[in-house]
Symmetry: C2
Subunit: 467 residues, 2 copies
């Protein structure tokens, strides 16, 4: 376990108790001083806890007592829902101040969350140029590179020397999202090169920027999906990536810290989809902030699609009803065989879906994958089959033909489920759909039907005379 | 879709074809020149494809023709398996050269993968101090902060001026992993402050480092788990975090680019665990590089645990066998009721497990979560129940008491499954186990038994006279 993190969190818990005590006794300034022992990210965490424990009013009081510059930082670290809550508790003037002081990309994020009348009020007090820029940014589609980027980058001229550039950075650096990667544009605002601060620091002052800039660089288009942007960050390990418009003019940059959140959101989306939850809202809201109706809407489609599949499963059973009523003992093993088929199929599909998402496996590997899953299935099938033969025969005391039916069915069900589980994601991806979204319902429906058919087939083979 | 990435990838595909042609015609230098149009990360990608298409020998030839400095970069971007492959094809001298030129953290990674005799040969040609350091680093537990860090950071003295510091960075900067965050140590190597290059760039040359360094900073311990390190990166958005030993002496730094891989690996681990695959090897190898035996070993435990659970399910069915054989129609709806219970339960557990992992929900929210899931379950249950009443009665033509049995069972099963699915992860987390690892088998086993019990109870209520 991590000592540092634990110590830090313990320490924060103690402060939290102190602050709650101070608030109870209305010693607001003592509470604020306790809070100011921490950095902005930690203060934001503590304020969110105080909002839960002592209510919004106390949180607002504390927030308003923070020094102005710190309050802006703290605000930018709060979760979107808490930002909106807080905005309701403070004056329009305070809101305007905070929003104007925020980094441009954070400003866009909060403006997207705020009610429209408040956005208008804030934009009224914004200089015309910036207002225009804000409106452009607000129009980029959600989850696009455009919605992640900031226009606050350092822009250099190719003819400048390193000395000129460093002077420029000294002047405007405080307003930029990063000064570590600088962007060289030509007269028509096309991006022609990239130069890192580290290159400049190790170069002589009279070196020309054009001579040290990298002209082979990776850039993103404004409408590129955030998932692809995050893949590029992973691949290249850059601190920031430039974003260009359709005419290849530089319009903004995306920095790595915004990508960490994207990666988490994308993983969450995949995990939810693989387990039958489709987020139709697509708003990155937390579990508790999503309404009961929305939760139900997100979960119903998959369950309803499977209802159709169960009609077929039901039909298969009904057609075998006569035989089942003669050897009723067979019913007891149906859940196990179907369940094991589903579980073992979803093990395979999980590995393939994730492998496709992380580029570990490719569509062209399908034959290798199929052959591998057949062997894995056979191995697992034989082991489970042996276990079940003993269980059905010795533990449950059934005759050997029933034990043979169950255990032989097991082998074939596991192999088939592994084949289905590994191939369906590949087929879904091949027709350009998201395997995480489609694969599991498809596998569940097919594998249940296959499992039952195999089981009844085995019953006819081993128990033919009794049915 | 992303135009840039597609264009770039298309472009790379064309080059790939050209290179394969050149290799066919033994025009190795033309192939190399085509390759050199790209940056190191892309060259590594292309080489991996060439390894797949044209074999290791061609890859080795191409790799050896790369300029030395580029070949080192390319090597560091290759996947671990391809690195090991490549090492087999080049001379020991070339290996030594590459390994010595690699950044320290990449060096450790490849040394961990190489066969022991080769590691010894490389270490023989390493200066004693570095050899000692390498051995220390090789001993940090896998997935710890120690295994991720590099000792190649910029270290400053508190009494230096910004001018001194910049001169120092100019001299040693090329060997450091990052120069954007510099570390200030006292005489006993304790970390006392952090100063960013951006602060130095906007400060005057004669400012003292001690006056501008931040003394309130976040650090990691060497044995901290990588998941917690990545959480801290997400929370604070820093470029790099310092790592200290048990005596709080600075031993290395972790940079954000190494964390992107960690985040992906951790998400993969969670996804696999949630779907019943436990990676016992814990080696971050790709799907195709894991043997059939290892795959089977990773998947069997969960399936075997559930076998035990199915013994109970089987017993419940057996105890009801007499009644089932009288109303055999009931059997046809068993898979649907159990399956829906499992699916709807795993929807809830997925959201809660992921919410706990991303700190979106907390243990103390359990009552709110339970109440929410009961309402969601009731809503979904009523809808599915109505659908099923009509199906059983009208579509399948069963008598109304059977339709009532199935549809009433559905409501209660969905509500119970949602309660189980949401509460079991919380209980598992409360006793300090990983919810992703334990929750799903636990939910499957309990929810199947509950679903059957509810179903048979409903049958006794609505069909009591017939059983």
């Amino acid at each position: 376990m991590d000592n540092t993190a634990l110590e830090r969190e313990d320490y924060m818990d103690i402060s939290m108790e102190k602050i709650l005590d101070f608030l109870d006794q209305r010693k607001y300034f003592d509470a604020r001083d306790e809070l100011l022992k921490y950095n902005a990210a930690d203060i934001a965490d503590i304020l969110e806890d105080i909002n839960d424990e002592a209510g919004l009013r106390m949180t607002v009081i504390l927030f308003r007592l923070l020094p102005k510059d710190i309050s802006v930082d703290v605000f930018s670290y709060l979760q979107a829902e808490d930002q909106v809550d807080l905005v309701r508790g403070i004056t329009d003037k305070e809101i305007s101040f905070i929003v104007h002081e925020l980094d441009f990309d954070d400003k866009i994020d909060i403006l997207e969350e705020l009610p429209a009348n408040l956005v208008n009020k804030i934009l009224e007090n914004t200089p015309k140029d910036e207002r225009k820029l804000i409106n452009t940014f607000l129009n980029y589609p959600e989850n696009s590179a455009g919605s992640l980027m900031t226009p606050e980058y350092i822009s250099l001229k190719p003819e400048w020397t390193v000395g000129d550039a460093m002077k420029h950075i000294k002047n405007v650096g405080m307003d930029a999202e990063t000064i570590y990667t600088c962007y060289v544009k030509d007269f028509s605002r096309h991006l022609i090169g990239i130069v890192s601060l580290s290159t400049m620091v190790v170069s002589d002052d009279d070196t020309k920027i054009v001579d040290i800039m990298r002209t082979e660089f990776v850039s993103e288009k404004v409408n590129t999906d955030q998932e692809e942007v995050s893949d590029d960050f992973k691949k290249y390990g850059y601190l920031a990536l430039p974003v260009v418009d359709m005419e290849n003019r530089l319009v903004g940059i995306i920095t790595f810290d915004d990508i960490l959140d994207v990666m988490e959101d994308e993983a969450t989306e995949d995990i939810e989809r693989m387990n039958g939850v489709i987020d139709f809202e697509n708003k990155d809201r937390g579990y508790l902030d999503i309404s009961v109706w929305q939760h139900a809407k997100n979960r119903l489609p998959w369950l309803l699609i499977l209802m159709v599949a169960y009609v077929f499963t039901g039909r298969i059973i009904t057609s075998f009803e006569g035989s089942l009523s003669k050897v009723i003992a067979l019913v007891a093993y149906m859940p196990m065989l179907m369940g094991t088929g589903g579980n073992t199929g979803s093990q395979a599909s999980t590995l393939i879906i994730r492998g496709l998402a992380t580029d570990e496996v490719e569509l062209k590997d399908w034959l290798k994958i199929l052959w591998k899953e057949i062997r894995i299935g056979a191995l697992i099938g034989v082991i489970l089959s042996a276990v079940n033969f003993l269980r059905v025969w010795l533990l449950d005391g059934n005759p050997i033909p029933i034990a043979l039916t169950v255990s032989c069915a097991m082998i074939f069900i596991v192999i088939f489920a592994k084949m289905l589980g590994s191939m369906i994601p590949i087929i879904v991806k091949r027709i350009n759909l998201d395997p995480a979204l489609i694969a599991n319902p498809a596998i569940s429906s097919v594998s249940d039907a296959v499992a039952l058919s195999i089981y009844f087939l085995m019953a006819m083979i081993f128990l033919g005379s009794m049915l």
